[in-house]
């Protein structure tokens, strides 16, 4: 079996003391970040990227640390959903629907344990599925030429943009703004400087890490100044935490179904974990019918979205690793990490750097067990951390962002850019313009232009070349559907909005 020898290689990498240590640290930090209202996986990973680089970690170590944070944040998001009725991050939104009622009925501990186990099942199955599916998809990706890659990038923008906002024009605008930002600086092919306005600082282009940290981390402080840090007191008492074995056993099919659906939702480019938890909750709700009591605080209502969003988190790694196209906001951030480490994700990654891929997968399997241990017996520790007031937390996040970016580049100009992106993030989110397509544009702009130019040079300037293979036609059709379909489905499949009470 190919996969077994690959996994053996992975565990060889992952079981080094340093990697294990990083996985544990990452899980711990991730759970905290996920639990804190306002900070989710993409913010968490964004804040930690610059610090990871200045610590001089190698590719595998950096990736293990940051994906552990990613998985940890997906687990942690449920804690504030259940205790505060505020989702710790967007995918955890559906968990408030049954988690908070359960906590109000005095069963906060049970809700935390059931959702913790569901997270574990979802994430574990998804990681296994990732190990099975990814190499297969990587083999298909070998058939991709520049025309196919160009179409694939278009697909990523279309589906991510289609899902990310309630207004298609706004998602498209965000994508094009991101692409436009990516074009600033010296053009590597011709050596000409583009769109810098004569500013020397801009000649190297805008570092996507600066944009990511600005849009995802610095913008949060503006939100909290806007709201004066309201609504973050723990309203529910958490008594002794016991494990409700029978109730967990009664949700076994819910967890398995939700893991499968969540994984598929995660693999689709752009759909991501929020869709995973939304679809699984709705599915289980309709399967249970009126007698299921969804919304009143039932175990299945907590298990379904948590298994779903954690499975989707694993699924979203599939297109990111095999095709270099992220399936969600956080995987876009992880893609930035890979690119900064000079690792090109895609089919060649599996052949050239198997230790990175399989080390990562093995580390994720280990991280899952660490997270189960942290999130069930030790859940009280994290509940206490939730009580850190935003007036300390947010200035802290901002200062960490500054130090991180400053230690990377040592340039005050990057810090100014980061503040600019922070303001942009605040304004865009207020106007319901998604920021993830901006990041995607900045990340993929260079590749997208290169593939287009390469394709045109190969074909001697013939535009129909872009549609010359069945794969690229299929991708363009999928892109068009992915962008247009949400307009019609919106009536039925409303993007879950943040619950504000």
């Amino acid at each position: 079996m190919d996969i077994l020898s690959n996994l053996a290689l992975g565990f060889e990498v992952a079981l080094s003391p340093m990697t294990l240590f990083l996985a544990v640290i990452g899980c711990f930090l991730g759970t905290i970040i996920g639990a804190l209202p306002g900070l989710g996986p993409s913010n968490g990973v964004a804040i930690l990227i610059p610090i990871t680089f200045t610590m001089g970690l190698d590719a595998t170590a950096a990736l293990v640390l940051l994906t552990s944070v990613y998985y940890g944040a997906m687990y942690g998001g449920r804690i504030s959903s259940i205790l505060l009725n505020i989702p710790g991050d967007e995918p955890a939104m559906m968990t408030t629907l049954d988690g908070y009622p359960m906590a109000k009925n005095g069963r906060a501990g049970d809700a935390l344990v059931i959702s913790g186990v569901a997270s574990f099942v979802g994430a574990l199955l998804a990681t296994i599925a990732l190990a099975l599916v990814a190499p297969f998809l990587a083999r298909i990706a070998y058939k991709f030429g520049p025309a196919e890659y160009f179409a694939l990038y278009a697909l990523a923008f279309a589906t991510l943009g289609g899902m990310a906002s309630n207004n298609q024009a706004k998602s498209a605008l965000a994508s094009f703004i991101g692409l436009g930002i990516a074009l600033i600086g010296i053009d590597n092919n011709s050596g000409f400087t583009r769109f810098t306005g004569g500013n020397l600082h801009l000649a190297d282009g805008i570092d996507f890490l600066v944009a990511i940290v600005g849009l995802f981390a610095v913008s949060e402080v503006f939100f909290f100044i806007d709201s004066h840090g309201k609504g973050s007191a723990v309203g529910v008492v958490l008594g002794k935490v016991t494990v409700p074995w029978r109730e967990i056993w009664s949700t076994r099919w819910t967890m398995l179904r939700s893991s499968a659906v969540g994984f598929v939702a995660g693999v689709l480019p752009g759909a991501g974990a929020s869709l995973g938890s939304f679809m699984t909750y709705m599915m289980e709700k309709s399967l249970a019918g009126k007698k299921g009591g969804f919304g009143t605080g039932v175990a299945k209502g907590v298990a379904a979205p948590e298994a779903g969003n954690n499975a989707a988190a694993g699924g979203a790694l599939v297109p990111m690793l095999t095709l270099g196209v992220p399936g969600s906001g956080t995987t876009a951030v992880l893609l930035a990490v890979l690119m900064t480490l000079n690792i090109t994700p895609g089919p060649t990654l599996f052949a050239d750097r198997p230790e990175v891929v399989w080390g990562l997968i093995a580390a994720l399997l280990i991280a899952n067990f660490v997270l189960l241990a942290m999130n069930v017996p030790m859940v009280k520790v994290f509940v206490r951390i939730l009580q850190v007031p935003p007036a300390i937390l947010l200035p802290g996040v901002t200062m960490i962002s500054f130090v991180g970016i400053y230690s990377l580049s040592g340039s005050y100009f990057d810090l100014l850019l980061m503040v600019g992106f922070g303001v942009m993030g605040y304004v865009f989110r207020k106007m319901d313009i998604p920021t993830v397509p901006v990041i995607l544009g900045i990340l993929l702009g260079y590749q997208m232009e290169n593939n287009l130019r390469h394709a045109m040079t190969l074909s001697g300037g013939e535009w129909t070349y872009l549609l010359s293979s069945p794969i690229s036609i299929g991708l363009w059709v999928a892109a068009a559907l992915g962008f247009i379909a949400p307009m019609f489905l919106r009536r039925y499949l409303r993007k879950p909005q943040m619950v504000t009470e």
């Binding site: 024009a169 100044i225 007031p389 007036a391 200035p395 200062m399 300037g461």
Partner: protein, 147 residues
């Protein structure tokens, strides 16, 4: 009616036009690079114009902007962060961080004493973590004082 969607749309159209004029001055492609550096930027700029037109023609209901005092305080926070960016190098880490963190903390929750303590605590705490645990090359004080 003027809505923020329309304002943004107009701004984006202007930026896109600047993009296009600037791209026209770039050289055309050649045999080895058929499109050259100008084609893709023009495609992106046209995309910007089309989607911005969507915002101008069919704007969403007005965003829920904060009241004037909050808006001013966000503007002030931005100025603080800009000042912080400029002062990190000349004044070292400790003093600017303490001041900026205290101001932000006060803006989120207006209680002066906890805010000052937050500023000092974050500044010293983060310095210790960054310098000694993570080994970043930070300067605590202005370099002129360090000799």
């Amino acid at each position: 009616m003027i809505r923020s969607d329309r304002i943004l749309g107009v701004v984006v159209v202007i930026v896109a036009l600047v993009f296009i004029t600037s791209a026209y001055n770039l050289p055309a492609g050649n045999l080895f690079d058929k499109l050259g550096p100008k084609a893709f930027p023009i495609i992106v700029a046209i995309g910007m114009i089309v989607s911005a037109a969507g915002l101008i023609l069919r704007p969403d209901p007005e965003a829920d902007w904060p009241e004037m005092p909050s808006l001013l305080s966000i503007g002030f926070a931005t100025l603080v962060l800009i000042g912080y960016a400029y002062s990190l190098k000349p004044f070292g880490f400790l003093a600017p961080t303490a001041i900026a963190a205290a101001i932000l903390s006060y803006q989120i929750s207006p209680r002066p004493v906890p805010a000052v303590l937050t500023g000092i605590g974050l500044s010293v705490g983060l310095f210790v973590i960054f310098k000694y645990a993570l080994g970043l090359g930070l300067f605590a004080l202005p370099r002129s004082l360090m000799g």
